[in-house]
Amino acid sequence: MKIAILSGKGGTGKTTVSTNLAWVLSKITSVQLLDADVEEPNDHIFFDISFDHEESVDLLLPVVNNETCIRCGECSKNCQFGAISVFNSGTIVFENLCHGCGVCKMVCPVNAITEKSKSIGKVMLGTISKNLKFGMGILNIGEPSGVRIIRQLKKHIDNKAEVVIIDSQPGTSCPVVETLRNVDFAILVTEPTTFGLHDLSLAIELVKEMNIPSGIIINRDNSKTNIIDKFAEKENIPILMKIPFKKQIAKIYSEGNLFSKFLPEFQEKFLSVYKIIKGLIE
């Protein structure tokens, strides 16, 4: 079973939910935790991981041989990203705009374009415990998009693991979509604020469009408002769990620890989240 953990708004507790859920479930079954928040991966902070595999994620960038180039302009005419321009002095590639699609090479009539690979980030795999395997993607500083890193990370999904938990980036744009492709369930983590609700509604729109069943976890829950409960009822989406607003939980998190280790009553709660999800997708 593949579960993606997402949230429209950043900082609502995706990492808290992913790491605690993975750790609790690994006590009863085999689990793989994948951190697909490749811009700012944090799950690894909460575990002692022995990494045993690392691979680069590469893009193929064009290299123009300006001696062969006849300045015909076919490459720049066909490039959809404005990443290649032809001047009298030669043809120039703007590497940061290039998507590595290969169109310029395809259309060059004199074969003046070859390709070189450039690393945009990496994927790392490791082990936390016998029942808990780990993987993460990291985007290099200055690179615009982590989609390809997420795609490569997901190729390492362990089909033997009973549960695969994938921690997503915040937002609802392309990296989140890549994370959601082919998952069985999405946990939407939110907080009971106007902003939390607004961004949750966008995330729900996305999972509905992608036909992925989902449930909500309310983090930093307080008794002051029930805006999320009302919304969930209206949208007919189950609330899987509420994590109370407690300074102790925030403190444990801030130190890079799993709060369910220190507050065992939550282990039961995470287990029941899993049971609810199982019931929902079967």
Binding site: G11, T15, C101, M106, V177, E255, G256
Partner: protein, 301 residues
């Protein structure tokens, strides 16, 4: 006009809290909400939409099933795994397609076309004396960096007409294209962080990103007293790296109340958070007045 961007690697550290409050304190300012995935700034000001614009992002390929003869060349040339072959039919996965045109060029039957689709909207809104430019990216769309650029262009345009002195940019989280589009060519960048293990980890990555784009920047530590040990670590780190700390905002329940009531926290004048933000504002003013002349060429994107 000077553009000041407020960013954070990690989400939820308090960008909108700070930018909305600075939006109140800077009298002659226009706000640009560049978190187009999850725009919240306009909610904070209960603003009314005055102008609405369409945003067309990247194009997507579409296969005409009547012309397709099933040769599969499109699937071979696509580097984004966006051509799916199922039940003897080739189809484009709209989410994976980057609109590069490779399949269109290669199709011997000319069965594939690139089509443009509406990816989102951007708006000019006002509330009392505040002017806000913000946007909505349709869920699942890419090219959010392009939409951020539109938001910034419109804010410059409006700022010029209204003779504003400052553009305050509420940036996107992360370090990818929406975040970097929020900071390019700005006058000053404020990085908001929080004293958690994740916060400090993400802080280092956003600092490297801001340095990569060669921007002047300083740090604000939000909720600094939830873990003073890590706050000390951040301060030490900034000292060795020679990075200015613009201010520290204490944990204050008023912030939560302010968000629930959609009011910038600085309007709760006696709150601890408001006082800290006013100090940050004063320091910023000083930077703008004293050092402003050093960074003159930052007026355009």
């Amino acid at each position: 006009m000077k553009q000041i961007a407020i960013v954070s690697g990690k989400g939820g550290t308090g960008k909108t809290t700070l930018s909305s409050s600075l939006g109140i304190l800077f009298k002659n300012t226009i706000l640009a909400d560049c978190d187009v995935d999850a725009a919240n700034l306009n909610l904070m000001f209960n603003s009314k939409i005055i102008e609405k614009y369409d945003y067309y992002g990247g194009k997507k390929a579409v296969i005409d099933p009547k012309k397709c003869d099933g040769c599969g060349i499109c699937k071979e040339v696509c580097r984004f795994e966006a051509v799916i072959y199922k039940n003897n039919i080739y189809k484009i996965d709209q989410y994976a397609c980057e609109g590069c045109n490779a399949c269109v060029i290669s199709c011997p039957q000319k069965a594939i076309k690139l089509t443009e689709s509406l990816s989102g909207n951007y708006y000019y809104s006002t509330s009392e004396n505040k002017n806000i430019v913000h946007a909505n990216l349709n869920p699942g769309e890419e090219t959010s960096g392009g939409l951020v650029a539109e938001v910034r262009k419109l804010s410059i345009e409006k700022g010029k007409i209204l003779k504003k002195e400052i553009i305050l940019i509420d940036g996107a989280p992360g370090i990818g294209c929406p975040a970097t589009s929020s900071i390019t060519a700005t006058y000053f960048v404020i990085i908001v962080t929080e004293p958690t293990s994740s916060g400090i980890h993400d802080l280092k990555r956003i600092i490297d990103t801001v340095k990569h784009f060669k921007r002047n920047f300083a740090i604000v530590i939000n909720k600094y007293d939830i873990n003073e040990e890590i706050t000390n670590k951040i301060e030490e780190f900034c000292k060795t790296e020679n990075i200015e700390i613009l201010g520290k905002i204490p944990f204050d329940e008023t912030v939560e109340e302010a968000i629930l009531n959609t009011r910038p926290v600085v309007t709760y004048e006696n709150s601890k958070a408001a006082k800290a933000i006013i100090e940050i504002y004063k320091k910023l003013l000083k930077i703008i007045k004293e050092e402003g002349k050093n960074y003159e060429n930052s007026n355009s994107i």
